[in-house]
Symmetry: C2
Subunit: 469 residues, 2 copies
């Protein structure tokens, strides 16, 4: 008898059988769970999911069809823990949370760290949000209401309130005794903050330094006075850049008066960096939030807006072509070749744009090196333009046996790639100076320029060279 | 007398005067330092840079023109510390390190943590690398040679060797005494690893748990047995996904035999996530490594290769147009409108592509939801296609007073956007299944399809509808 043929034999026991080599849930395993849910065998579904890590249960929900998620939630019961909800994709969590009564959401929120509870509650409808807040302990409610008072994606939303702060006059021994004796302190912390009587941070102390120091030494002799303090209203993208620049594991968050109000840790920042860096690629291509779990209506709205703008720029290009209608009628080869000039220019512009947007997002491109970067991109563009122009010119010359046409397409490509390089760096830099997100609208402008200029130069040169009237 | 007019008055003292609101070095400050370097006033340059954080000195080098970096390095002398080199952009570091003698590089490497020293040495020319290794202490050399034996961008390259590992039978008190008494242990660690006699990790212990526990408790009662172990040859992108999935602050790295050989911490992972997520956007647009500090020759090579491939796909599209030469001669409006169909299709394809590449990179799109995602993209594409088709059709109908032409362009746009959505999800998924990086080559294929199909459908339909022969 083989394991597979015996229904009582535990078929999925270890991580190796549930996860593939990339640490993702295997399709077979997911199907096994969902089949059990579908045939109403909730016990089997529960048994299968029980050994999973919270992050994998979260993935299980994400991999389930939207309409089946409620059934899965019922089958898994208490396995749908606060940890699972903290790990789950925003859109999927909204689906699940919307189906739960306010009291249960409040219950889950109380088991979470503040930042996770806030992430869950902030996306609820106003009315539902109020109902959940009403169900919370007064103390938890105050904390979450305070967090919700800060702007979305600010430090105040993502920080944890649970932290350890001590005055500077105590010794290492006193600190250790304090930590051992106070059972209601958090157990998850990576640094101790040393504060003055007004609760303003004056230094920070890695736990490893405390463990390596004799009991009689004063904390003020162990702590590092140089700290990176995060203002509570700082945008999370800026927070992530600070963590990256100074290689931080955790950092104190302070309010307007400089008082310590929370802590942000690197594990949260990893998530933010992933999100923010991913957003740039989606914005550059006009895909909005661009999550595969996003409702179709939202994807539609974000993308169609972009394509309508794109239709507008394409019409500008068409208008330019229309001015050369007579030339095209005389020489149809112009219509055949003109998309090449526009396409190459568009792609060259996108390359420069991607490099520039990344450099701006990572604070690498500042006022000090803007002129140098523009000059750099022009030189790269001239080199690339010359190469591609020669290849395209030779190709067109041979195919059409017309060396004037070859010269025209070569010159047009060189010119358009140079324009593309220039606009690919100047447009995002200007948008950045105007405090606009360069990832959002740069590519519309760049594409419009490379399309329009591509057609204009190519067709204009053709007429000028006497190829067509 | 104002501060600005007195050359002896210290003009730059605090962070506020050197950094702008985004925490970047102010252009004025950078110019002040570089002017001092240029006029040979190394003392002034040193004085200005001295109060800066290592990460800001690193930025100062990045913001300096390539040819002036050696002079800046000489002026700053010992301010160009191991910490500065650890923070600096790879390309810029190569420039600086190439100018230093092997003995000095070895000196700096010995002050760095292993992962930073490896990052500096791995980029050197083979010959220079050997010279530096020869200058190192035998112990440091062995460690770095070992690290270099692992593949680039693997866990073995980015891990630190400095860690604290203890056997499971000791108590919290014994552990603290051990940490206090052994002066040569590292002072930078965030977790204690508990190992068996073969040095295999059996559990991990956050320092906060140790500090909260009485001395007489055994470590094995405090530690968490559930751990995320990183194989030493795992790719750094995969490492970053594990950190993100399980919200880790640090994780043990193990060799083939399961022995503990190093540790990776979240501050390094923040850097990797930033790099990897940024790489996707650059690859999708064919910009190679795409760093603004990259030598021009490298940028040229990476980008021109892509544009030449793009020239090939554009020629395929031109070939298709050439088949309809007669139709275009009959009705020049076709030449005017055809770029709209291709351009809209290309942009719609890029949107889907960006979403799919992100979902693949973050392990959100797996075998379990591939079919669902394809179906989702088709539905989004049909909705978007219908909207844009109606707008474009109405526009063309009004402008050209030709409602057959309006119908043709509308139908072509709807069809091409649908094809774009389908190929934007299917192509990267197939490349991913074939173990190819979907970010690298997807967009060439998608653009080729949307360009060619755009022209083919539009011109083909026009002929079919009897608009032109």
């Amino acid at each position: 008898m083989t394991a597979e043929s015996d229904p009582d034999f535990p078929q999925v026991e270890t991580a190796e059988e549930t996860l593939d080599e990339d640490n993702r849930l295997k399709a077979d395993f997911v199907r096994l769970v969902l089949d059990a849910v579908e045939r109403g065998d909730t016990e089997e579904a529960y048994r299968l999911a029980q050994p999973l890590h919270a992050a994998d249960i979260a993935d299980l929900f994400e991999l389930t069809k939207r309409e089946d998620r409620a059934d899965l939630a019922i089958a898994l019961g208490d396995l749908l823990s606060a940890d699972v909800l903290a790990e789950i994709n925003d859109w999927v969590r909204d689906d699940i949370v919307d189906a739960l009564p306010a009291a249960q959401i409040a219950d889950l929120a109380e088991q979470m760290e503040t930042d996770d509870a806030v992430a869950m509650i902030e996306d609820l409808e106003e009315e539902e949000q109020q109902a959940v807040l009403a169900e919370l302990d007064p103390e938890d409610r105050a904390v979450i209401e305070d967090a919700l008072s800060y702007p979305e994606e600010s430090a105040g939303r993502i920080m944890q309130r649970e932290l350890v702060a001590v005055p500077e006059h105590i010794t290492v021994g006193q600190l250790i005794d304090y930590l051992r004796d106070n059972q209601d302190l958090t157990t998850e912390f990576w640094e101790i903050f040393v504060v003055d009587p007004a609760h303003r941070p004056i230094g920070t102390c890695q736990l490893s330094w405390i463990l390596r120091t004799p009991r009689n030494i004063s904390i003020s002799d162990v702590m590092k006075r140089e700290q990176t303090l995060i203002p509570v209203d700082m945008d999370q993208e800026e927070v992530a850049l600070r963590f990256q620049k100074y290689a931080l594991i955790s950092a104190a968050v302070v309010d307007d008066a400089g008082r310590l109000v929370g802590v942000i840790t690197a594990d949260d920042v990893v998530h933010i960096v992933q999100e923010e860096a991913g957003e740039d690629i989606l914005r550059l291509s006009g895909a909005g939030e661009g999550d595969i779990n996003e409702p179709i209506a939202d994807s539609y709205k974000a993308r169609v807006r972009w394509l309508i703008a794109n239709l507008g720029t394409a019409m500008v290009a068409s208008f330019i072509i229309a001015q050369f209608g007579a030339a095209i009628e005389t020489m149809v080869a112009l219509a055949i070749l003109m998309p090449i000039v526009a396409s190459i220019g568009g792609n060259a512009g996108t390359q420069t744009l991607a490099v520039t947007v990344r450099a701006l997002a990572t604070n690498q491109l500042t006022q000090s090196n803007t002129v140098r970067s523009i000059w750099r991109e022009i030189r790269v563009a001239l080199l690339i333009g010359a190469t591609v122009a020669v290849i395209a010119g030779l190709g067109a010359g041979v195919i059409f046996s017309n060396w004037t046409l070859a010269g025209v397409i070569g010159a047009a490509i060189l010119f358009n790639i140079t324009i593309a390089g220039l606009s690919g760096v100047v447009i995002p830099v200007v948008l950045d100076r105007l405090d606009q997100d360069p990832a959002v609208s740069s590519s519309i402008f760049v594409t419009m320029i490379t399309d329009s200029m591509g057609f204009l130069i190519f067709l204009g040169l053709a007429v000028f060279a006497g190829l067509a009237g």
